[in-house]
């Protein structure tokens, strides 16, 4: 293979990410046209999702799945962030290397378990516990939020641990020499030093929680209703797509593309924000 050919092939491969990203936006946008024209931006506030009998029209609004996505994500973040920080602190500052190593591996394996497994386990083993403790019928926003949190904790903890580990030992030692406690070193030296990485990891985990489908599909209840209590069942954008996309036609189908476009836009915004502001990978 000649040098020029090799270089060109590598260049084309590199631009593929760009074309995929633009391609996804373009395709979703063009398939969402029908829904966009019919409903406009009222789509965002409309709670109805009712196909006509003949299956060709109907009234569709994205309010319930959009709110369900946001609420389950926020709930998961509120539960996961303190735990993930605690785990990262344990791994970097508390545990001896002998303990930290296997615990690190275990936490990372937790991140490798497929989401469908979390969903099944959650449905048969965790939902009954939520039902017994909090009432409701087991599946709902709360169960989905807790299991989502368990799924994103290892991910968040691993990135936070890595960025905490970059704190120069000499900075920590100077603080200890001045009589600081471990917590004060963590709070005043390690955390500020690793701030960018920590915030970045939280936002990346948020992006993951936003788009998670299978675990939530088992656990959120998949019903088109707004939540009054935290244990109520509802639905989210990925779950609605997973369950109804295959059978939908025409206007309903177009409305689903619209929802997918909204989800992609939200996650694109969240992840780019994390990338450009907090995790800027400098060219080495």
């Amino acid at each position: 293979m000649s040098g020029k050919l090799f270089r060109n092939f590598s260049f084309i491969s590199a631009t593929l990410s760009f074309f995929l990203l633009v391609g996804i936006f373009a395709v979703l946008f063009s398939y969402a046209q029908e829904a966009l024209h019919t409903f406009g931006f009222d789509f965002l506030w409309n709670e109805q999702w009712e196909p006509d009998e003949d299956d060709e029209g109907g009234v569709f609004g994205g309010y319930i799945p959009i709110v369900g996505t946001l609420l389950s994500t926020v709930l998961a973040m509120v539960l996961a962030t303190p735990l993930a920080m605690g785990i990262a602190i344990f791994l970097t500052e508390i545990a001896s290397e002998k303990v930290a190593k296997p615990v690190s591996v275990a936490i990372e394996l937790l991140a490798a378990i497929p989401s469908i497994i979390y969903g099944m386990w959650g449905l048969f083993y965790f939902a009954p516990i939520v039902q017994a403790v909090f009432g409701g019928n087991g599946v709902g926003l709360l169960t989905a939020g807790i299991v989502l949190a368990i799924m994103i904790i290892p991910f968040m903890a691993a990135i936070t641990r890595d960025s905490m580990n970059t704190t120069p030992a000499v900075l920590k030692e100077s603080a200890y020499a001045m009589g600081a406690t471990k917590f004060e070193v963590i709070k005043d030296v390690v955390m500020p030093y690793a701030k960018g990485g920590i915030i970045g990891s939280i936002i990346l985990a948020l992006g993951r929680a936003l788009g998670e489908t299978m675990a939530v599909a088992f656990l959120i209840g998949s019903v088109m209703s707004t939540v009054g209590k935290v244990t109520d069942p509802t639905t989210s954008i990925p779950v609605l797509l997973a369950n109804n996309f295959a059978e939908a036609e025409d206007l309903e189908m177009s409305s689903m593309y619209f929802l997918a476009l909204i989800l992609f836009a939200i996650s694109f915004a969240v992840i780019s924000f994390a990338k450009f502001y907090f995790l800027g990978r400098k060219a080495k």
């Binding site: 084309i12 605690g86 615990v103 936490i107 992609f264």
Partner: protein, 269 residues
């Protein structure tokens, strides 16, 4: 509050968080083993879904994942090579790098919808190729990122030695740089394979599922994960047992590939 006391409290809370994390891992693994192992029979591996086994599902899932890997590895590696060796430090390379990181975190269900519009809707039905393409799209950004990072670790002196010997740029990349980064890239490939072998959402409306054994990629293709999703929600006990058996097998596969990846890295150091 007494600062020494506060220190103690925070340290205890952190330790408790770690115990919670580990606790969930063992809880999930224990459940899976307890429900999964008893549900596995000889038939599980030798019969197809239609007869109560998962043979066709395993073959189908692996076929799609392997095809995705065959596409994603060369493309991802070449892109990583461009970012590190040719476009190094340029504005374009840094934009592409960031876009590829964004693609890595794109919701998998959206990729499913995108591939449906591209390869299912126009061709009149679910097919295995669409499933493999969806998995490849998920895999490429991961391979780009690992290749890029691993090439960054190759010492500049190696490249210079190649130049001093009069090697052309692409020869140096192929015969020196890639070889030096081989182990790291292989680990990345293994870990990304472990990630896509357990994916469900991008397959739901690309390959869908097939109860029968088939190697014909142009029709609905058997998928282990999609089957687990379906079986788990059926009311009968036999379906559920099969779902647990399949989940156990899938988790064992994913964890083994992950541990293998780790083992490869450790041997290098």
């Amino acid at each position: 509050m007494n600062r020494l006391l506060l220190n103690k409290i925070i340290l205890v809370l952190s330790t408790l968080s770690a115990l919670t994390g580990i606790g969930f891992l063992f809880w999930i693994l224990a459940t899976l083993s307890y429900k999964g192992i008893v549900s596995i029979h000889w038939d599980t591996f030798t019969k197809d879904l239609v007869e109560g086994g998962i043979r066709n599902l395993l073959v189908g899932q692996f076929t799609m994942a392997l095809i995705a890997t065959a596409v994603a590895v060369p493309v991802g590696m070449m892109a990583g090579i461009y970012l590190r060796e040719y476009g190094h430090g340029s504005r374009l390379a840094s934009i592409i790098r960031n876009l590829s990181d964004v693609m890595m975190s794109a919701p998998s269900i959206v990729i499913g919808v995108f591939v449906y519009a591209l390869l299912v809707d126009p061709f009149g039905g679910y097919n295995g190729w669409a499933g493999a393409v969806a998995l490849a799209i998920m895999m490429i950004p991961i391979i780009i990122s690992t290749t890029d990072n691993m090439l960054a670790l190759v010492p500049q002196e190696l490249r210079e030695a190649g130049i001093a010997l009069g090697g052309s740029k692409h020869k140096i990349i192929l015969q020196i740089v890639i070889r030096a980064a081989k182990v790291g890239i292989m680990t990345g490939v293994l870990l990304s394979f472990a990630r896509i072998i357990g994916e469900t959402a991008p397959l739901l409306f690309t390959s869908a599922n097939n109860q029968f054994f088939t190697m014909d990629m142009s029709e609905q293709f058997p998928s282990l994960t999609v089957s687990i999703y379906n079986l788990a929600t059926y009311p009968d006990e036999a379906s559920r047992e099969l779902a647990w058996a399949a989940s156990f097998i899938l988790t064992v596969i994913v964890l083994c590939i992950n541990l293998l990846g780790r083992f490869v890295i450790r041997n290098k150091k």
